[in-house]
Symmetry: C2
Subunit: 223 residues, 2 copies
């Protein structure tokens, strides 16, 4: 028995709403850092209630879809992948809060250094998040693959930021704390990218899992 | 229709095997740091192949259980929770590798400071991991609750380690890099605890979800 198409469509719409809310939190957290805006950083800390709500709602929705009837494999895969992606989105929401908290502490000290590549890391991570969700919703494997490729770029920037800031810290103890906070923020952003990568991988498996049923055993290697 | 009990039992056994392998990786990574043992840290980096294998196997097993037949809600909950916990375990395996990598870099420099509370953080995190999985397998809510309580302890130690090491870094630039690596390791350990907390929360929801079916709407607040 098949799920009425509108049920799966509704699930995807709610997941897009969740992803939009999460992306907005990441965007605000990075902007608070760049603009040195204390209120904006503070807003991130209290801004995840709708995300927590959506997290519970989507989890419950997936469970209800599984509970209501035996799903054909293709739809089962959409729902089980939905459960996994929902967790990744919630963790990204937590990371936005980590960035907001670290930004608040960072803003207690005078700015001593431009932010190097951190704003760029922020925009790459946000793009990866948006595209990973789109690749799931549209079952777009090309887009999912592009997300995976961008993760290396983010890792390289993280290493670069790390080495630059360690150099700064070793030469001037008066800015140790600020430099350390920027290192932590760059790591939070890298982890946003890691979760977007998970989402893209899950989207690829969802579709390649379907292909397995048409191509025999070969598709297994995609996992 | 109900899953033959041995199928769910087998799933739980494989998850215990996964948790055991993950716990061993965390233990080895922390021991490598404490003993300043380069080979041991290196072994962690190559030691996650069995974990990746188990991750795929358990995911596939859960999917097959969902695909084979319409499960009653209680069993559905065990399997869906299994999918989520499997992700958490795999991420803890990744964190063990992060600890191993950071330890290798840390060992490039002479030791300048005792490890403060990091070994203690390691043993708390390992205990949380073990107990969280046991709480899922045995459906033991008391044990799950104990895991949640210990997370605060780990967070406090992380803050304490952070402040001590920032103090060290600010007073002596010759040990900036080592102190920074210890801060990063303490954060990896805190995240191990976060994932154990997720597992315990998922175990609680799995059981309280069952209770909802006996108690009406009230149990929803447990989520």
């Amino acid at each position: 028995m098949s799920v009425p198409p509108k049920d799966l469509e509704h699930l995807k719409q709610r997941m897009l709403a969740m992803a939009g809310a999460v992306e907005e939190q990441v965007r605000t957290a990075v902007e608070a850092l760049v603009e040195r805006n204390h209120d904006m950083a503070q807003a991130v800390l209290t801004g995840d209630k709708p995300i927590d709500q959506l997290h519970l709602e989507i989890d419950e929705r997936c469970f209800q879809l599984l509970e209501a009837q035996q799903l054909p494999s293709t739809e089962l895969r959409v729902v089980v992948t939905g459960v996994k992606i929902n967790s990744d989105l919630e963790r990204i929401g937590d990371l936005a809060i980590n960035i907001g908290e670290t930004t608040l502490r960072y803003l207690e000290h005078p700015s001593v250094k431009p932010l190097i590549d951190i704003p760029r890391m922020g925009s790459i991570a946000q793009g990866m998040l948006r595209d990973s969700l789109d690749s799931y919703v549209k079952q777009d494997m090309t887009l999912a693959q592009q997300v995976l490729n961008r993760d290396d770029q983010l890792d390289e920037l993280k290493e670069q930021v790390f080495h630059e800031l360690v150099g700064v810290m070793c030469s001037d103890t008066t800015i140790t704390e600020q430099a350390l906070d920027l290192i932590l923020i760059s790591r939070h952003l890298e982890r946003v990218g890691d979760h977007a990568t998970n989402i893209a991988e899950e989207a690829i498996f969802m579709v390649s899992g379907l292909d397995v049923r048409h191509q025999g055993q070969e598709g297994q290697a995609n996992r």
